[in-house]
C-alpha cells in the first residue's frame, strides 16, 4: 500500500470480507442464508444455526405423502 493509500485506508470505512462476500452471493439463496447464519451469533453454535437453515431450505422443497397402504391386521 502506498503511503497516501495507507493513510486514507485508516480513515475510510472499508467493507469487511464477509460484506464483500455477501455481494457476490445470490440474494436469498442457500449460500447467502448460510453466510447469514454463520454471522448471526457465536462461532461455537454456528453449525447448529447453519443446519437449521439447511432444514428449512429442504422443508420448503419437499412434498408430503402419507405412505403406502398399511398391512391389514
Amino acid at each position: 500500500m502506498s503511503a497516501s493509500a495507507a493513510e486514507a485506508s485508516n480513515d475510510a470505512a472499508k467493507p469487511t470480507d464477509t460484506e464483500r462476500l455477501q455481494t457476490h452471493l445470490a440474494a436469498g439463496g442457500l449460500a447467502s442464508q448460510l453466510l447469514g447464519a454463520w454471522l448471526a451469533g457465536p462461532g461455537s453454535q454456528a453449525q447448529r444455526r447453519m443446519l437449521t437453515v439447511l432444514d428449512a431450505h429442504n422443508s420448503s422443497l419437499q412434498a408430503t405423502d402419507a405412505g403406502p397402504t398399511p398391512p391389514k391386521t
Binding site: M1, S2, A3, S4, A5, A6, E7, S9, N10, D17, T18, R20, L21, H24, L25, A26, G29, L30, A31, L34, L35, W38, A46, Q47, M50, L51, L54, H57, N58, L61, Q62, D65, A66, G67, P68, T69, P70, P71, K72
Partner: protein, 838 residues
C-alpha cells in the same frame, strides 16, 4: 488508533550479545544501525522477532533443519546463570509507555521449540495482551513480526505452491472467509446418510436378477401408491417364475412368496432346526426350605418315637371324662390297675399330646414345601430340555431324513471356523444342560425319599447340599445359552445366505418383509431422497461460495498489487521490467498464486509480455520484489514499525539511494517507524545525513570480544566507529586490505590524540575546544603534548608510539604491516581509549 512505537531496546545474552546489557534509544522516525559482518545485526533483528513472537522465523522457514538451531539463542560464551532477555519500552496507542520483556527459559533443543517468559511491566502477559494493551497484532505465520531479513525475502519465491497460497491468504487476511467455507463444507459430515434396515432390504431386492427392471421402479417410486404397486408387481414376477399363480393383492402375494421361500429353504437345509425356545419359568429356589426343615427336625426331637406310638392311646384316655377330670388317682381304664392313673400321670399325657400336635404341623409344612420344591425342579428340568435346539430333540434318523447333517452343513458353510465354533458352543450347551439335569435329578430323588417316610427321613443336609449347587448350575447353563446363541447367529448369517443362494431365493425374505408393510421403506426412501437433496443443495452452495471467495480474493489481490507496484516503483523506477500483479492462476484456482511481472524491450514499458517473476526475474529483481511485498504487507497490516536487516543487496548499489530516500520517505509518510540495519557504511552515513531533520538515530555494533559480545556505540563515538571499521582489514591475508587497515588505525590514533587534547582543554576551562580545531594536523604535530598526558601507566606513552610506528610505513616502505602488528596496535589503542576516554 495510532500504532505502537518502539522507544528503547535492551538486549542481554541473546545470540551475539553478552552479559552486559546493551541499550538502543530509538528515534520515533528512523534508526539506522551499522555493523560489519558478524558484529550482531542479525542477532538484533532476530532479538526483536524473539521478543514479539518467542521464536525466530528463520528456524520456521528452514523446516528440514530445525535441529540445527539447537542451543542457538543463548550466547555460548556467557555463564550458565546469566539471564538472556530482550526488552522494549513501547509507546502504546493509549499514550502510555510500557515495558515488554521476554526472557529465555529453555533454548531450542533438537527439534523442540524454545520456551520463554513474556512480561508486560513485570507481570506475565500473553500474545492477546500484546494486541489489547500494546496495540501490536502480530501477522500470520511464518513471518509474524514486522522484521525483514534477507533469508525471509526469498521465502515467497521458494516455498511450495500450497504454502505460497497460505502465505497470501494470510496477507490478504481472508482466513475468515476460509473459516466460513470450511464450516459449510463440514456440514456434509454433520449430515450422515440415513441408515435404515429397509434400505438394506431394498438393496437386496435390487440384487434379485428377475427383478432388475421392476426394482428400479420400486426405488424410483414417486408416491406411496406407486411403491405399493411396484412391490406387488415384483411379488408377481417371482411367483410366476416359480409357477405359482399370483393372488390379487400385495398382502396375499407376500404370504404366497413367503410360503414358497420356506419350502425352498427347507429343501436345501432345515435351518429351523437351529431354533430354540426361550428358557423361561425359572425364578430361583424358595430359600425358606432350610428353615422349614430345621423346625421339622426340632419338633421331631421333642417327641420320642415311643410317645409317637402311644399318642393315640393318650388321646383316647384323655377323651374319657373320668380320666380328663380326675383330681385323685384312679384305676387304669385299659388294664384296670388300681390307682394307676394319678393326676400327675394324666397331666403328662396332656403334655405329650400337645407336643405331638406341633410335630404334626411341622411335618405337614415340610411335606408341602418338599412337594412345591419338587414341582419347581420339575419345571426347571422341562424348561432346560425345551431350551435345547430343535435338532437336539430330534432323533438321529429324523435329522437325517430332514437333511440336517454335518456334512451338508459344511458344504454350505465353507468357513470351517464358523462350524467349529458353533459345534463347540453346542457341546458346552449340552454339558451345561446335562450337569443341571443331574443336579435336579439328584435333588428330586432326595425329595421322593423324604416324602416316602418323612418321620424317619434323616437326609436333610444332603438335600440342602444338592440344592445349593442348583443356582450355579443354572447360571452356567444361561452363559452356555448366550454363547450358543451368538455362535448360531454368526453361523446363520453365512448359512442363510448360502441356503438362499442354493435355493435361488436370495432377497426373497427382504421382499416379503417389505411387501407385508411398505410404510417403513417408503419413509426410509423419503428420508434418503431428502438427504440427497440436502447434500446436492449444500454442494451447490459451496460451489457458489468458492466462486464468491475467489472474487473477493481477486479484489483484494488487486489492492495488494497496487501497493506492491507502488513500492516496486520506488525501489526500481523506470525499469523496462516491472511488477504487474499478484493473482490467482485461474478463476478456479485456490492453491496456485502467481506473481506476474512485465517484460518490455522499451523504456516506456510498451508491448510488455507478462511472465512469472520466479522464472524470469534476476536475483536482484526478486530481492526487490520480496522487499516490496513485505513493505506492502507490513503497511497494510497497520504495523507501527518495521525492522529491515540489510534490505538492499550489496550488489544493488544502484538502487540503494532509492531505498535510502524514496522508500524511507514513503514509510515515514505512512507513519511507520523504521529501523534499518546495514553493513554498508556509506548507506549508514547517507541515511543519517538525509533524515537528520526528522530526528534520525544512528548506532554502530562492535563485537571485538566474543565473550563481551556485541556492544552498541552511538554515533558520537567516532573513535569506536573507526576501530570497528578497521577490524575486518586487520585479520585479512590480503596485503592491500591490511594497508587499508593500517590507514584506519592511523586515523584512530589521530582521533584518540585529538580527543585527549580537547578533553585536556575542557578540563582547563576552554569549553570552546573542538575536534575541528585540529583538522589538517597529524600525529607528529601533537605527539609530544599527548604523550605527556598519558600518565596513568608508565607503559602508555610507549604503547601509543609503537602503535603509530606499526601502522605507519617508512617513506619507501611498500610492505604492509602484518596482521599481528595491526592486531597489537588496535588492542593498544582500545586499551588507551578505555584508560583515558571511556
Amino acid at each position: 488508533m495510532p500504532a505502537p512505537r518502539l522507544q528503547k531496546l535492551d538486549l542481554q545474552g541473546f545470540r551475539s550479545f553478552g552479559t552486559g546489557r546493551q541499550t538502543f534509544n530509538l528515534s520515533p522516525t528512523v534508526t539506522v544501525v551499522w555493523g560489519g559482518n558478524s558484529q550482531g545485526k542479525t542477532s538484533l533483528a532476530e532479538g526483536l522477532e524473539f521478543l514479539f513472537t518467542g521464536q525466530v522465523a528463520r528456524r520456521e522457514l528452514l523446516a528440514s533443519a530445525k535441529d540445527e538451531f539447537a542451543e542457538s539463542l543463548r550466547n555460548v560464551h556467557i555463564p550458565a546463570a546469566a539471564t538472556v532477555f530482550v526488552e522494549a519500552h513501547i509507546v502504546c496507542p493509549d499514550g502510555a509507555t510500557r515495558r515488554l520483556r521476554r526472557t529465555l527459559v529453555d533454548d531450542f533443543k533438537g527439534s523442540s521449540a524454545c520456551t520463554s517468559r513474556l512480561e508486560l511491566d513485570g507481570a506475565p502477559c500473553t500474545e492477546e495482551d500484546l494486541a489489547t494493551q500494546v496495540g501490536l497484532k502480530l501477522m500470520a505465520p511464518p513471518l509474524r513480526a514486522p522484521v525483514l531479513a534477507q533469508h525471509t525475502l526469498a521465502y515467497i519465491f521458494s516455498v511450495a505452491p500450497g504454502d505460497r497460497a497460505t502465505y497470501f491468504r494470510a496477507v490478504l487476511d481472508t482466513q475468515d472467509l476460509q473459516d466460513f467455507r470450511n464450516a459449510v463444507a463440514a456440514l456434509e459430515t454433520a449430515l450422515p446418510p440415513p441408515v435404515f434396515p429397509e434400505l438394506a432390504k431394498l438393496a437386496a431386492i435390487e440384487a434379485i436378477p428377475e427383478l432388475a427392471a421392476i426394482a428400479k421402479k420400486v426405488r424410483a417410486a414417486k408416491t406411496s401408491a406407486e411403491l405399493d404397486k411396484h412391490l406387488s408387481d415384483a411379488l408377481e414376477v417371482l411367483l410366476v417364475a416359480a409357477d405359482i399363480p399370483a393372488k390379487p393383492s400385495r398382502a396375499e402375494r407376500s404370504e404366497q412368496l413367503n410360503a414358497a421361500l420356506e419350502q425352498r429353504r427347507s429343501q436345501t437345509f432345515p435351518t429351523g432346526l437351529f431354533a430354540r425356545r426361550p428358557f423361561t419359568g425359572w425364578s430361583g429356589l424358595d430359600t425358606s426350605l432350610a428353615d422349614t426343615l430345621k423346625v421339622f427336625e426340632r419338633e421331631r426331637q421333642h417327641v420320642e418315637a415311643e410317645t409317637r406310638r402311644l399318642i393315640t392311646l393318650f388321646k383316647a384316655a384323655l377323651a374319657i371324662e373320668a380320666v380328663d377330670g380326675a383330681h385323685a388317682p384312679i384305676d387304669c381304664p385299659l388294664c384296670a390297675t388300681a390307682a394307676a392313673l394319678t393326676p400327675a400321670r394324666i397331666s403328662q399325657f396332656r403334655e405329650q399330646v400337645a407336643a405331638n400336635k406341633a410335630y404334626q404341623e411341622a411335618e405337614k409344612a415340610t411335606a408341602e414345601a418338599l412337594r412345591e420344591l419338587d414341582g419347581t425342579l420339575l419345571t426347571l428340568a422341562q424348561a432346560t430340555i425345551q431350551a435345547l435346539p430343535r435338532f437336539a430333540r430330534e432323533t438321529a434318523i429324523a435329522r437325517r431324513e430332514q437333511a440336517f447333517t454335518m456334512a451338508r452343513l459344511r458344504r454350505l458353510v465353507p468357513d470351517t471356523s464358523l462350524v467349529a465354533a458353533w459345534s463347540a458352543a453346542y457341546r458346552r450347551l449340552r454339558r451345561a444342560a446335562g450337569s443341571l439335569q443331574a443336579s435336579v435329578g439328584a435333588a428330586r430323588g432326595q425329595i421322593t425319599a423324604a416324602l416316602g417316610d418323612l418321620t424317619h427321613w434323616q437326609d436333610t443336609a444332603a438335600l440342602l447340599a444338592i440344592l445349593d449347587t442348583v443356582p450355579a448350575e443354572v447360571a452356567a447353563w444361561e452363559v452356555a445359552q448366550l454363547a450358543y446363541a451368538e455362535s448360531v447367529r454368526q453361523l446363520s448369517e453365512t448359512l442363510q445366505a448360502a441356503v438362499d443362494q442354493s435355493a435361488n431365493t436370495a432377497g426373497w425374505l427382504d421382499l416379503v418383509n417389505v411387501a407385508r408393510d411398505p410404510t417403513p421403506l417408503w419413509q426410509a426412501m423419503e428420508r434418503q431422497r431428502g438427504h440427497a437433496a440436502t447434500i446436492k443443495a449444500l454442494q451447490g452452495a459451496l460451489k457458489e461460495i468458492d466462486t464468491a471467495i475467489g472474487k473477493v480474493t481477486d479484489e483484494k489481490f488487486g489492492t495488494l498489487s497496487e501497493d506492491v507496484r507502488s513500492w516496486w516503483e520506488r525501489l526500481r523506477p523506470d525499469e523496462p521490467s516491472f511488477f504487474d500483479a499478484v493473482k490467482r492462476r485461474s478463476a478456479k484456482a485456490r492453491r496456485n498464486i502467481d506473481l506476474k511481472v512485465g517484460l518490455s524491450a522499451h523504456s516506456d514499458r510498451s508491448d510488455a509480455q507478462l511472465r512469472d517473476a520466479v522464472a524470469v526475474f534476476s536475483q536482484s529483481q526478486l530481492h526487490c520484489l520480496g522487499l516490496a511485498l513485505f513493505l506492502a504487507r507490513t503497511v497494510a497490516e497497520g504495523m507501527g514499525f518495521v525492522v529491515l536487516d540489510d534490505p538492499v543487496l550489496t550488489s544493488d548499489d544502484d538502487f540503494r539511494p532509492n531505498f535510502e530516500f524514496s522508500v524511507l520517505e514513503a514509510l515515514l509518510d505512512a507513519g511507520v517507524q523504521v529501523i534499518v540495519l546495514t553493513q554498508d557504511y556509506a548507506s549508514w552515513k547517507n541515511i543519517g545525513h538525509r533524515w537528520d531533520y526528522r530526528g534520525v538515530s544512528q548506532f554502530q555494533l562492535v563485537r571485538d570480544d566474543p565473550v563481551i559480545g556485541t556492544e552498541v556505540r552511538s554515533q558520537k563515538d567516532q573513535l569506536s566507529s573507526i576501530l570497528a571499521k578497521a577490524q575486518p582489514f586487520i585479520k585479512s591475508h590480503d596485503a592491500e586490505q591490511r594497508k587499508q587497515g593500517a590507514i584506519e588505525l592511523r586515523q584512530a590514533i589521530e582521533r584518540f590524540c585529538k580527543e585527549m587534547l580537547v578533553r585536556e582543554r575542557h578540563a582547563n576551562g576552554d569549553m570552546q575546544a573542538a575536534i575541528a580545531d585540529y583538522d589538517g594536523k597529524n600525529f607528529g604535530d601533537f605527539k609530544t603534548k599527548v604523550l605527556a598526558l598519558l600518565t596513568n601507566d608508565p607503559s602508555h606513552s610507549g604503547k601509543l608510539t609503537t602503535a603509530h610506528n606499526n601502522v605507519t610505513p617508512g617513506p619507501h616502505d611498500d610492505r604492509p604491516p602484518s596482521s599481528a602488528q595491526l592486531k597489537v596496535a588496535a588492542g593498544d589503542i582500545k586499551a588507551l581509549k578505555k584508560a583515558y576516554l571511556d
